[in-house]
Amino acid sequence: MKNLLLAFLMLFYMVSCMDVYDEPLPAYEPELVIEAYVNQVNVLGNYALLTKSLAYYDESFEVEGVTGANVRLFEGQKLGNTLEWQEEGIQFEPLSDEVPGLYAPPLTGLFLAKEGYYYKLVVEYQGVTATSIAHMPAVVPIDTFYAENIFNNNTDSVEPYLRMRFADPPAFGNYYLISEYRNDPGEFPLLWGSAERLLVNDDALFNGNDFTFSSIFPDKYGDTINFYLMSIDRPAYDFWLSYDASRNNGGPFSQPVNLSSNFDNARGIFQAMAVSHKRIIVTKP
């Protein structure tokens, strides 16, 4: 769809022109932005990153980390219709001065998230409390992950294309985030943000069936690829959809969309994710 709109826009450019539009805008105060994760495979992958947004026409391109916040995580279970929370919770601490705004559990408090449990993140900053609750789904395992070698007539050579297959569970309502992380000795990135998001999808179109993810572009021989199939909950899925939507905002083709947030009093995402992981080296046949 994006390509279609781009093609249309190209045509518009042929007969139209662009001009700076300098009408005053409503005032805007920068807001707290939170990105936080818990997962079941990597104890170092549970953290919260706190930053601030900017006024739209602020000249800065710098992202400012937020220090001096109080970040605490609670684990909970659903008993009947109510959520029962741990009393104490885990106090997150600033990780280092080099990455201001990054908060993680202390070494004594390292943990892995558990299937079916709920997690609550509470962030206090300058007198405002922002809270979010995420649900940890069941792991959906990757069945196969490989590079398929396809002969390209144009370049007269063989090219590798990534293929990943998994079986979607029978009930509707599974949400997936697929990402990859390349050429690193580790199995997981230090921060989830350095893994590249490839696809955010629900199972509406393939519920209960096998689903194959196929890359459209050829890969590189010799690359080491960590591939992650993450099961997430509905609010997280909505968040990434709105993330993509709000990256393409503007113009007459989109309903203005604010990035959805699963925090009250802050923008951002707190995501509990059940990660299935495979690692391959793309090799020439």
């Binding site: 769809m1 390509n3 279609l4 045509l11 518009f12 007969v15 139209s16 022109c17 662009m18 001009d19 700076v20 539009y21 009408e23 805008l25 409503p26 805007y28 920068p30 807001e31 990105e35 930053t51 947004s53 900017l54 006024a55 739209y56 391109f61 710098e62 992202v63 980390g65 990455v99 398929e148 007539n153 144009n154 294309y161 009930a171 509707f172 309502g173 990135p189 943000g193 350095s194 509406a204 179109l205 194959t212 196929s214 459209i216 572009f217 050829p218 959809l241 939507a245 709000s246 990256r247 905002n249 503007g250 113009g251 007459p252 083709f253 309903q255 203005p256 969309v257 604010n258 990035l259």
Partner: protein
């Protein structure tokens, strides 16, 4: 609920019609009928809305859309006056002892360049008729209006009328009295046109050469029309000259057109054929650099019509429209042997077969079979991926209308309509090397039925009322497999409800009362009022607020309820200086129910059961329209001013509070003036002013704050990873007001008229947006690491001059 199409609505219509009938048959005692057609003497074209008036009785009737009239009067000798704007009036003494059929041939007035024409009897139809909120335009009038790229455009012209607003320069959609672009019923010879735009909306699909009559109804919709809330744009095609073979056409800078007409059997059968094509893509090819060479964009369309008079009581018409837009793009910069390509084409086709039948000299009927189709496709390939997408809407319809001229005081109209809709909301196929994926949204089927009856009753010389109702029903039918959501969690489940062929999935029906009146105050002034309820069962899935080829139409369903509007309007009409000036003031109040919009960020592309993403709410529109028109003299034209307010309340948009949709324009001014300079020269000008469009500006941003590693935030494509933050208030800002001045100069060269076959050649030099004002169509944000972030506006048309040569033979 299952639905038996026969039982309920038809029975109801039958009963009401019976009562209407029986109450007025008594009025038609001892009278004779004068009936027949009013035609153009030169071409044999039927004239729509011509007046046939009996001087002695001070009573008259207007011809219907097929040029037919019928009057019931006591036997005697009368002076019959037949008149039509732009035609020489006929005044004839007729002795009526028994019913007679009479065809009146009116001679068009040739306005000689150097004389001032004064017609004997000026039109006072706007004051005397009991239709309000209605405007008729003759295609001849269009020619004097400045045009864009030399193309006369019907929709751009009606946007100059008060109460009708443009959706923007780059769109041929229009908003009527606070209604959305999908709330206009656009009819081309009775067939519905779902997407009336060419070239992404820069032009409308109607070729003015082929058009006989254009009428716009903004309110007070009579009961024969329905299915849309806000307006009817009714376009009637020429029947073709029944007497001689003729042609006309135009040569323009980006397109040319040709129109041919003539008799097939003299005075009995005629044809019309019109075609046009743009060729800008062909002309610019030699000047394009290699990168964009080979890219094409063009449109073409054709109208055709044949009619045959079988005998004085039966006449058949077959008319059709076919148009396509074709766009293709190839990336020539690609090194690959198979560079990326995109192609897209879309268009309408319509076909109408009509049968006019006279049951008697008082009962005229028309029965039509209607087909229309709009489809859009887009496909392409790059790298290993091949893809294709298509969507469409197709209707088969049957319609029958009866006009019963019961007496000179009472006219009855009734009829029915049945339409079978097929919606294909999108099918796509993707192929990556050997793997193929097909996504096909299920077709949606529906049957729409309507029956109506109305009565026009001239109570006395001063008061005339029109009372009618329309009963409509809409049945969404199978085959269809509908997903079921869990009752508690609201999440989709594995369960589906299966509906068999013709099985009813959801049935809606409504009774729509229609009422209007006219009260004559004095010779040249009247008051008119109307109240109508309208129901709309089809909805446009558009988030652009304009019209685009990608727009999808959706039927009412379990999730989308039919839209409803109520409109009350009151108007004062006054003609001045012996009808040289027409003035009117109309006020309207229009609450709207079940208005739809989309959830923020909703994706309407390939979403199965897309109607689950629809939000529903209410709307309110009210306003006043002022109109001053000068019909004759050296200077002609009009001034229209609209003061209006339109709101929508569709939670959760704007946190559930009301907001101003794109269609809200507080002030809207249009001025159109044509001045005859000298013998062969005419100049005309258009001025338009409108309050800026409501929009939601970006106020804050996050770039890379989420989803990226902090170390990479600055370097990793910050230009593309900007996330916009919008204010809480939806559509809380206004774009700069829209303002435009156009001019045109028309020159009729000398000498050509003396040549018999090649008559009226004419040059039209137009300047669109003469002051080169940069009117924003929309605003977007542009980010550049060096220049920073700027809000920019998209301006479609800077100053655009064009020249066209129009000819006739």
């Amino acid at each position: 609920m299952t639905f038996n199409p026969i039982s309920f609505p038809i029975a109801k219509v039958g009963i009401v019609s019976f009562f209407l009938f029986s109450s007025f048959v008594a009025l038609g005692q001892k009278k004779v009928a004068l009936s027949g057609y009013v035609k153009d003497a030169a071409t044999g074209e039927d004239l729509i809305g011509a007046n046939v008036y009996i001087d002695e009785l001070k009573t008259g009737v207007a011809t219907n859309v097929y040029g037919f009239y019928s009057l019931s009067i006591p036997p005697g000798t009368y002076t019959v006056v037949v008149s039509y704007l732009g035609y020489q009036e006929i005044r004839e003494s007729l002795q009526l002892d028994m019913g007679i059929t009479r065809v009146f041939d009116l001679q068009a007035i040739e306005i000689k360049a150097d004389e001032v024409v004064i017609t004997a009897e000026r039109e006072d139809k706007n004051v005397k008729s009991n239709e309000m909120s209605k405007v008729e335009i003759q295609p001849e009038q269009l020619k004097e209006i400045p045009v864009l790229f030399g193309e006369t455009d019907i929709i751009k012209t009606i946007q100059l009328l008060p109460g009708i607003q443009s959706t923007g320069d780059g769109s041929s959609g229009f908003y009527v009295r606070g209604g959305g672009p999908d709330q206009n019923l656009i009819l081309l010879d009775e067939a519905v046109v779902y997407n009336a735009s060419h070239l992404f909306g820069f032009f409308s699909v109607f070729n003015a050469d082929a058009v006989k009559n254009i009428s716009v109804l903004k309110g007070g919709m009579p009961s024969e029309y329905g299915g849309r809330l806000s307006s009817v744009l009714n376009i009637t095609l020429n029947d073709g000259n029944a007497k001689e073979f003729h042609g006309k056409g135009g040569l323009g800078i980006i397109s040319s057109r040709l129109y041919l007409e003539g008799p097939l059997i003299k005075e009995k059968s005629s044809f019309m054929l019109a075609a046009r094509r743009t060729y800008a893509d062909v002309l610019v090819q030699p000047f394009l650099n290699d990168q964009v060479k080979g890219n094409r964009y063009y449109f073409y369309d054709a109208n055709a019509k044949v009619n045959i008079t079988l005998n004085p009581r039966n006449r058949l018409y077959l008319s059709g429209y076919f148009g396509r837009d074709v766009f293709s793009f190839k990336d020539n910069t690609s090194q690959s042997l198979s560079p990326p390509t995109f192609t897209s084409d879309w268009g309408n086709s319509t076909m109408t077969l009509r049968w006019n039948h006279l049951f008697s000299d008082k009962v005229f009927s028309n029965t039509s079979l209607i087909y229309n189709d709009y489809n859009f496709s887009f496909g392409g390939s790059f790298n290993q991926l091949n893809f294709k997408f298509q969507s469409s809407i197709r209707d088969y319809g049957f319609k029958t209308d009866l006009d019963y001229f019961a007496s000179n005081k009472v006219k009855l109209k009734f009829g029915g309509q049945a339409t079978h809709h097929t919606f294909n909301p999108g099918a796509a196929s993707f192929a990556i090397s050997e793997q193929e994926l097909e996504l096909t949204n299920q077709n949606r089927l529906a049957v729409e039925l309507a029956a109506y009856a109305s009565m026009n009753y001239d109570v006395n010389d001063l008061l005339s009322v029109n009372l009618g109702f329309r009963y409509s029903s809409f049945d969404a039918i199978g085959p269809y497999k509908q997903g079921v959501n869990d009752l508690i969690t609201g999440l989709p489940t594995l369960d589906t409800l299966k509906f068999g062929a013709w099985e009813s999935m959801q049935w809606y029906h409504a009774l729509e009362p229609r009422f209007s009146f006219r009260w004559i105050l004095a010779e040249n002034s009247s008051i008119k009022g109307s109240f109508t309820k309208n129901v709309q069962y089809l909805h446009l899935a558009s988030i652009s607020g304009g019209t685009l080829p990608t727009d999808l139409w959706l039927p009412s369903s379990r999730f989308i309820r039919p839209q409803v509007s109520y409109q009350a309007a009151l108007g004062y009409f006054q003609n001045l200086s012996d009808n040289r000036y027409e003035t009117s003031v109309e006020v309207y109040y229009k609450p709207l129910l079940h208005q739809i919009d989309f959830m923020p960020g909703a994706n309407i592309f390939l979403a199965d059961e897309i109607d689950r993403n629809v939000l529903s709410g209410s709307g309110l529109a009210y306003g006043a329209e002022f109109f001053l028109k000068k019909n004759e003299g050296k200077l002609t034209g009009w001034i229209g001013y609209t003061l209006s307010r339109t709101t929508r309340t569709i939670p959760p948009l704007n946190n559930g509070n009301f907001y101003f949709p794109r269609y809200d324009r507080r002030h809207d001014v249009s001025v159109l003036a044509t001045y005859r300079l000298a013998a062969r020269w005419k100049v005309s000008a258009v001025f338009v002013y409108a309050t800026g469009i409501a929009y939601t500006p970006s106020v804050g941003r996050m770039f890379g704050n989420i989803g990226l590693e902090p170390a990479n935030m600055q370097e990793l494509m910050p230009l593309f990873d900007i996330i916009t933050i919008y204010p809480d208030e939806y559509n809380g800002q206004r774009l700069r007001p829209y303002q435009r001045v156009d001019f045109s100069l028309i020159y009729k060269p000398k000498g050509k008229e003396t040549r018999k076959r090649w008559g009226g050649g004419e040059w039209n030099l137009s300047v669109f947006n003469a002051t080169n004002r940069k009117n924003p169509y929309f605003v977007y944000d542009e980010t550049d690491l060096e220049a920073g972030i700027n809000q920019r506006k998209m301006v479609y048309f800077p100053i655009i001059p064009s020249i066209t040569y129009n000819f006739k033979f």
